[in-house]
């Protein structure tokens, strides 16, 4: 799955239903947070802010009908898997917040690492190794300002941003996989095996240590006469 579609398609799903004229009135800004879990599932949060007129149109079409919004998103995103969907809006500030979850997030690379494709119009702003910040103007939504924050799993290793500035730019990372229970058992077994071997050896040596001592004792000289 290419996660980048979420940012783009959320805009389309929210405002481009059936390519109606309302597609020309996207949210003013879109802030997204994408939290990737170790099992590859992702939690997405979108925060949208509107100007007055687009807000009214958006409310009329989907803002007051979240079930329709969810249905259309599922349809438009049908190539992907969306399990949970939550939605809340703030009429006072003309903002809306959308959260959803997908069990299938990053792509699996042939080298065993994971990959999250980032929209070509997004530029890397900063990163801490685990948290990555991107920003850009979405050309498909009239230059809408978008910020994307991607939080990688806690056990991420070797996260790098590859092919920057190209349509193939992507965040690539590996995971430090903790040892499984069988590995612990294996190590414990090896330890016990070694310990057993040492004990057995010591026991054998101890047994040998007594017997040779008796054998090594000089024989009593025969009594004379």
């Amino acid at each position: 799955m290419k996660i980048r579609i979420f940012a783009l398609l959320t805009v389309l799903a929210l405002f481009g239903f059936c390519r109606s004229a309302f597609g020309q009135l996207p949210a003013k800004t879109l802030d997204s947070i994408l939290e990737v879990n170790a099992d590859g599932s992702v939690n997405l949060t979108f925060q949208l802010a509107f100007d007055a007129r687009p807000w009214e149109i958006w409310r009329k079409n989907v803002g007051d009908d979240p079930a329709r919004l969810r249905g259309m998103m599922r349809h438009q995103f049908s190539a992907y898997v969306i399990d949970d969907f939550k939605f809340e809006k703030d009429d006072l500030n003309r903002t809306a917040k959308l959260t959803l979850r997908s069990p299938a997030g990053p792509d699996l690379r042939l080298d065993g690492r994971y990959q999250i494709t980032v929209d070509a119009w997004c530029r890397l702003i900063n990163h801490t190794g685990r948290e990555w910040f991107f920003s850009g103007a979405n050309p498909a939504a009239g230059g809408q300002q978008v910020t994307e924050k991607i939080i990688l799993p806690a056990n991420t290793a070797e996260a790098t941003f590859v092919n920057a500035g190209t349509p193939d730019q992507a965040l690539v990372y590996a995971l430090d996989v903790p040892a499984g229970r069988s590995r612990l058992i294996l190590w414990l077994g090896a330890l016990v095996l070694v310990a057993g071997g040492v004990m057995l050896g010591a026991g054998r040596l101890a047994a040998r240590g007594i017997a040779p001592a008796a054998a090594a004792a000089p024989a009593a000289p025969p009594k004379a006469g």
């Binding site: 590859g40 249905g71 077994g189 090896a190 026991g203």
Partner: protein, 577 residues
Amino acid sequence: MKNLLTIGGAVGLVAGGVLVIAGLARVGERPAKLTWRDPEIKSALMTLGYKVYGNPKVEFGRHYLSKLVFKNTGEHPVTDFSISYKIDDYVPWTDPEEVHAIPAGFTLVKLYHPRLPASVTKIRNATNATFRIRMQWKEEGRPHEETITRDIVLRGINELVSSDLPDTEARSWFDKENAAAFTVCMVTPNDPAVSLYISEITKLAGGTVAGFGGGSQEVARISRWIYDYMVATQLRYTSDSGVVENVDNVSTIVQTVRMPRDVIVTDQGLCIELSILWSTILEHLGMHSTMVFVPGHVFVIAYSPDQGMPFEQGLPIECTAITHRAVAEPLAQIRGQNSEAPATFEEAVKLGQMGWKQAQDSGLFILVPVKELQAEGYVAPELADIDTDRLTETLAKRLPQAGPAAMPVAAVVNPNLGGGLPAVGPAAPVGPVAGGVNTWRHPQGLVSVSFPGDFISVLPPGAPPFMLLSVGNPATSLSCDVMHITGTQDPAQAMNYVASVFGQMGAMIQITGSTPMPNGTIMINGLTNGAGGSVRWTCLAKPVPGGVLLVSAGSNAAVWPAQSGAIQAILSTVRFQ
């Protein structure tokens, strides 16, 4: 003590051995286990959009045939996973898509976008096919294989489905028309039948359709010619509401929609077919269009490529206005009286504007922007060969009985949509084109041009090698030439070279004017004076790989006014690569 050590050591060895074996055997962990959700397999595909289904980039891949969601529920990786697909009789087993290892707990989504063969476009009626999915993988080294089989339906090439949304999700009219974008697959601007149709329009317009220069006035001018031709040839609107069909849990309208070529041949069409025809013609002529779906109806908005989306500047056209009965009521409103007279173009535009306003007021409309969707991947399927000679004859018979005629050019100068366009006046003769049309194509496909079938080759012996074609009708003095001047990319330089060569042959070329046109083409007007008299001509010059192509059409200067329409008609058929 020594016994205790020996016994403890032995126990330790045994216990350690057991633990090592248990560790190696991964006792206590869930083994690798591949599970999957119920496969999502589309029950029917529209063959007219078979290229859409095969393109995973269209609408972010949502037009898949199957979607499988796998999950490794074990604590060890599933290895050597592969999946391949087959559609009996149409697609052989695909190369397996392989995943070396699916990590523990990982979810994998596999979509199949079938690359159907072009032969599916020959399917006329819904046809059953068997779809198979084969999966192979290993759990803890043990190989597994599973095959899923489903029956699917391949719809006929003319069957357009309005929605693929399950009934459980469909709530509104928008949902019931969510497959409207597939209509664009029926827009076929490169169909030879369409080219012939446009050639006829051009003839009727006296050649003035050629050379779309951009801007709303040009859109109005050319759209008017299209509409007037349709009315003149008695293209009719017919009504059909489609049939409701249920496949699985999808209830949808299945409408038999014919390609533009079929509408041209039969000279009648539904509103959607007429809209598709309009979009096809507009696209062919370099304009853009958006089909507007409203409940129970479709019309079109024409606009110039430099106008962007047509919300404000486009020209809404009620395509069904060609048939009075279809628009009798709103037409009476516009006219303020009942009249059986067919709607004029300006009335068709007013009807379109009314429809567009109603759509905007109600919010119930779906826009299908043709160019955008074509760019996204909604492209037309391959079309069967068509008998162009027969179609040419058919179209020629449809022209008004007075013969092919040109509408007066003056009537469309500065058309003003707001105030209504001037009515179409009586036709001025151009001269019939008898014997059909011949088309010449450059050997490398750099250009093609069509000319009347009664033209004969007039290429003189010893003609310079850059003259690729010289045909004409000695009786009318009409002629057409194609020249390929190599070694330059400058049309002026090429024309100078031609002038110098002709000069050596005793003919003098005089350039009277030149006009830049879109796409780097330059239109040059001139005269050639020689022993045979004075020939007036118009030439289209365009730089091409390796040189400049010059395509000219002309006639004896003395008969130029009578022949200019025919000359323009020839030039309107010029297609540079």
